[in-house]
């Protein structure tokens, strides 16, 4: 009865060392074979064994990750279907890339609770647990839809809405002519449809490019480094970026007077902002004004207030701290240059005075780990959407955007090949439906409504 193959991530992604991607269904082995290069093909691998290998992007030949692959033949599996589990390295980026590859090769994003549902439908779970299964499905779906709504808040949601509006306008313009050919509603010609579709494709491409994970994961948690000149801001920034592979390079909006870098700290994408930037280096005498620090702090999720442990705190340092605390901003006070401070007693005194502060030496690589932990803890505490559901809904949305894009591409190709408006409309409508899956709208109702509200038709 079930004839499609589903894939999802089955471990917590945010802070674990590895992620396990699970795929279940009749094509699980053949899909895995298109990506996985090990000593044996998955097809020839013995059931219930583990194999080491590499995940290779079949199009580019590029290696995505080194993994362990477990093959389990039906029916001795959780779902009683053919199952492949891939243990890859932790963090969102790899899990997401791998899932996207699987979806591109024909697996479908697993619905909430779907592995359990299949396990039940295939007789793996006994009747006494049926209610629990139904609960899981309902509860996970609610959770996911909450997360989905939360993530769609803001700019991405608006962009999807804009694209849907354009598609509805285009489609209702086509449909009104198909359903009311005798009326003088403005005719959408094939060449106009093509032009408009190409425009919408460009919008979608841009969205897909910028489409990342939920707000935090999409844009990165913004962490700003503030402090007076020469307390080691740039060195700290360099230290953090050198250690943590930069994961995002194509996010627009980088301004020139602050230095921004995207780093992956324990699986959390972080946008690091060094407020020092160009201006400070041009004029060493210019003091970093308190106001400017506060402004930088305002837009950030988290601030690293950096001071020099070898020098006493200045009045302006105190003021920044007081203001930050007063505005309930999240920050950590950092005493850098611990290496210059030979006096243990002084260190103890400072630690007593500032029990929440961190002490480190960028130069000697002391305390960096603790700082990263602090950033991660903050991210996890303050962003409940860091869990599997975020990744799952995001990869699903991404998949849907890409499918919509492909369908529109097919519409353009059909117009080029001289196919008729009815076929073209089929692609455009299917694309609209894909976007509707993200926003929870029904294409049919929207198009019919648009026909009557936009055009004056009828006897």
């Amino acid at each position: 009865m079930i004839n499609n193959t589903i894939a999802g991530v089955s471990t917590a992604v945010g802070n674990s060392g590895i992620s396990v991607i699970r795929m279940s269904g009749p094509s699980a082995f053949s899909i895995a074979d298109r990506l996985f290069k090990g000593r044996k093909t998955v097809k020839n691998q013995n059931t219930h064994t583990v194999q080491y290998g590499k995940i290779i992007n079949p199009e580019t030949g590029e290696m995505i990750d080194e993994v362990l692959l477990i093959k389990m033949e039906a029916p001795r599996t959780y779902t009683r279907e053919d199952v492949v589990e891939i243990s890859c390295h932790g963090g969102y980026t790899i899990a997401r890339t791998l899932l996207n590859q699987l979806y591109g090769l024909g697996a479908r994003p697993a619905e909430p609770g779907e592995f359990t549902k299949r396990a039940f439908l295939n007789g793996r779970i006994d009747l006494s647990q049926a209610e629990a299964v139904m609960d899981i499905i309902q509860a996970r779906t609610e959770r996911v839809s909450k997360v989905a709504v939360k993530q769609l808040e803001g700019s991405v949601s608006k962009k999807i809405d804009d694209i849907r509006e354009k598609l509805i306008a285009l489609l209702s313009g086509i449909e009104v002519n198909l359903d009311y050919p005798e009326y003088d509603a403005e005719e959408v010609t094939l060449s106009e449809a093509k032009k408009e579709t190409i425009k919408i494709i460009a919008d979608l491409d841009e969205l897909i490019k910028s489409f990342r994970f939920g707000k935090l994961l999409r844009e990165g948690m913004e962490v700003v480094i503030i402090g007076r000149p020469n307390v080691g801001k740039s060195s700290l920034m360099n230290r953090l970026t050198r250690k943590n592979r930069s994961i995002v390079t194509d996010i627009p909006g980088t301004t020139r007077d602050v230095i921004e870098e995207y780093v992956n700290i324990k699986g959390i994408p972080v946008k690091l902002v060094d407020t020092a930037g160009v201006r400070e280096t041009e004029d060493q005498l210019e003091q970093l004004g308190v106001e400017r620090s506060i402004r930088a702090l305002e837009s950030a999720d988290f601030a690293l207030i950096l001071t020099d442990a070898s020098q006493p705190l200045l009045a302006e340092d105190e003021e920044v701290i007081t203001r930050a605390a007063g505005e309930k901003k999240s920050f950590v006070l950092i005493f850098n240059k611990l290496d210059l401070l030979k006096d243990e007693e002084k260190i103890d005194r400072l630690k007593k005075e500032y029990p929440d502060a961190l002490f480190l030496s960028v130069k000697e690589d002391v305390g960096i780990e603790g700082l990263e932990e602090k950033i991660f803890d903050f991210a996890v505490q303050n962003n409940q959407d860091i869990d599997n559901q975020v990744l799952i809904t995001n990869t699903r949305h991404e998949h849907q955007l890409k499918t919509a894009r492909e369908l529109l591409g097919s519409a353009v190709l059909s117009i080029q090949n001289g196919l008729t408006l009815d076929m073209v409309a089929m692609d455009i409508k299917a694309a609209l439906e894909e976007l509707g899956k993200i926003t929870g709208h029904h294409a049919d109702e929207d198009v019919v409504h648009a026909i009557f509200s936009r055009f004056c038709i009828g006897k």
Binding site: T141, D179, E182, C456, G458, K459
Partner: protein, 625 residues
């Protein structure tokens, strides 16, 4: 007092409009003793609004009715006076046939067909009561107190139930076209626990052809080559009339705007809900202020009448405003109005009370079809009529009802939309409502439905024989096209050049040649490769090849859809006990009692998670039993 039993039947059809006629004929043709009651036999199969049949989506419905063995297509072919294919060039999925009909001839044809139908009695009477016994239909009572016993009743009352016509400040109890309304049955239906709603529709004025100056209008002739509605029609008449096009102007709009306060639509007189796709001219002008003019089509009502129908000028304005409005149009300066435009309000039922078979859920043997179900249009009515007629017969014969799903027919889309989603305005069929439009074409209605009609018993030998022959020819032609390889040579080279098609270096199959957008099936003749097949067969073959990729995709979608439709939901399911269903889903499912998982998924408020929960629940039930 003892009841006077006027007669005893298997099936009684109440109303002889387009739904009633198809219902009565289907039931009688399936061998059941049937009676059809009509308020006035001179209004059988009346066309009280536009004098045409077909159009986008509606033409598809007519072809489907025909493919199942219905009458509408045959009657239209016999009485059309002008015919057109709409959407030529926009693709096979949306080609739609539309014909101007001689209104009186259509009526006579249908009345004659009913009168001559074996097993069918035609009776003039107003049905005032449905008689029940233990929630099961036992018969009907008419205004003369006579009782007719039966096993099933099909209500096809159109716009007659408590009909009220409104023209400006004037309003009166009436059916359409000045016919008698049915004022008694509504109360009885309410007593039976049936939820009624009030809808509104309207029609424009009719003017005398002799008072029109056609030189100021644009003539709209019919097609040169005429395509019949019915798969049974070979010989067909020529076009006999033209339609004409004019436009409203600033003066028309000024007259309407100045008199808006006198429109019953805007002064609160009319409460019924009107259709968005059939707006009166005052609604168009209010809703589309920027549009400087609107089209008005002038259409003949028949060959032996001077009445002309003004499509686009539907209104409920008072008479004096109507006259001014019409006379402001070019060519209509001296128009003599024969019948005024009017709005009509009527009772219909909330169709979500029905099963997909069109039987009322709570009352055994009571079926509903046509405008009483909240639809609008002759074709929509007839489509429901034939299904209700078939299913009343199937019920009495103890057979499974005929339920067409959304992937089989526009009829299926129509009934599923009405029954599953309900409607808050008179429902018109549109091609954009059909998810599987590429498959639900007018050209293949027989391929989709004639075998089903045969299985039911409504398709006779002649129709079935034609169908089998056509199918066979299509298959053979497919094989021929796949097996015939043209070698590269001078003839094919110049053929390809002539059609601006890429040249070939090795042989090409005819099948692959036809895949090229610039090569039509008709072109094969030029290279001596046509098989001399009929237009219908050639069309099927050509469409199947040209659109193969899209059709395959559509078929995959249909297979996916069917999986959900096949999972039946027991009618006695207690949804309030199902763990894990959302509250809203429990309420909706309990009241609507969907017949399949697929239907449940289309009820608003039932989420995909609820469907998963139902799937798991069904599995537990299966394992327990």
């Amino acid at each position: 007092m003892d009841e006077f039993i006027g007669g005893e039947y298997d099936v009684i059809v109440v109303g002889a409009g387009h739904a009633g006629c198809e219902a009565a004929l289907a039931s009688a043709r399936l061998g059941l003793k049937t009676a059809v009651f009509c308020l006035n036999l001179d209004s059988i199969a009346n066309l009280p609004c536009n004098p045409n049949i077909g159009g986008t989506a509606k033409g598809q419905l007519v072809r489907e009715i025909d493919a199942l063995g219905g009458q509408m297509g045959l009657a239209a072919d016999a009485t059309f006076i002008q015919s057109k294919i709409l959407n030529r060039g926009k693709g096979p999925a949306v080609y739609s046939l539309r014909a101007q009909i001689d209104r009186r001839a259509y009526h006579s044809h249908m009345k004659w067909t009913l009168e001559n139908q074996e097993n069918l009695d035609v009776k003039q009477a107003e049905v005032t009561e449905i008689l029940l016994e233990n929630k099961k239909v036992r018969g009907v009572k008419v205004h003369t107190e006579a009782v007719y016993l039966c096993k099933a009743v099909i209500l096809t009352t159109g716009t007659y139930l408590k009909g009220r016509i409104v023209i400006g400040k004037t309003s009166f109890s009436s059916g359409p076209d000045g016919l008698l309304p049915a004022n008694h049955l509504s109360e009885n239906l309410k007593e039976l626990g049936i939820e009624l709603v009030r809808f509104k529709t309207g029609t424009p004025a009719r003017v005398n052809r002799r008072s029109i100056d056609f030189s100021k209008m644009v003539e709209q002739p019919g097609d040169d080559e005429i395509t019949p509605f019915s798969f049974m029609t070979d010989e067909i008449k020529e076009n006999q009339v033209s339609c004409y096009l004019v436009h409203t102007n600033k003066e028309t709009h000024r007259i309407i705007e100045e008199n808006l306060h006198r429109s019953p639509l805007y002064d609160g007189e009319i409460v019924g809900v009107g259709p968005r796709y059939c707006p009166s001219i005052e609604v168009k002008i209010v809703a589309f202020k920027d549009k400087e003019s609107h089209q008005v089509f002038v259409e003949p009502m028949g060959l032996d009448t001077q009445e002309m129908y003004l499509q686009g000028m539907s209104t409920s304005m008072p008479m004096d405003v109507q006259i001014k409005m019409i006379q402001s149009l070019p060519g209509l300066e001296n128009a003599s109005i024969m019948r005024p435009a009017y709005a009509i309000e009527y009772d219909c039922i909330n169709p979500t009370q029905l099963k997909l078979s069109l039987e009322f859920k709570e009352l055994d043997g009571l079926f509903f079809a046509g405008q009483i179900n909240g639809s609008s249009g002759y074709e929509e009515a007839a489509a429901q009529g034939i299904i209700a007629g078939i299913n009343a017969a199937m019920k009495i014969k103890n057979r499974e009802p005929l339920i067409l799903d959304r992937s089989q027919a526009y009829i299926g889309v129509l009934i599923d939309d009405l029954v599953t989603k309900g409607t808050n305005e008179p429902y018109r069929m549109m091609t954009s409502r059909a998810e599987y439009r590429l498959w639900l074409r007018q050209d293949n209605a027989d391929i989709r439905l004639t075998q089903l009609g045969r299985d039911i018993g409504l398709v006779g030998d002649e129709r079935y024989g034609r169908f089998i022959k056509k199918k066979q020819q299509i298959e053979e032609e497919h094989i021929r096209l796949k097996n015939t390889i043209l070698p590269p040579g001078e003839e094919i080279k110049s053929f390809l050049e002539r059609h601006h098609s890429a040249k070939i270096v090795s042989g090409i199959r005819l099948y692959d040649l036809l895949k090229r957008p610039e090569i039509d099936y008709a072109h094969l003749k030029e290279i001596g490769q046509d098989a001399g097949l009929s237009r219908e067969v050639a069309e099927q073959v050509a469409i199947n090849i040209k659109y193969e990729g899209y059709l395959e995709r559509q078929m995959a979608q249909i297979r996916q859809f069917k999986r959900m439709e096949k999972r039946r939901l027991p009618q006695d399911m207690n949804y309030s006990n199902i763990h894990g269903l959302s509250l809203e889903a429990r309420q909706k499912l309990s009241s609507q009692k969907p017949e399949s998982l697929g239907q449940a998924s289309r009820i608003s408020g039932v989420s995909p998670a609820d469907i998963s929960v139902l799937l798991v629940y069904l599995e537990t039930q299966k394992r327990r039993s």
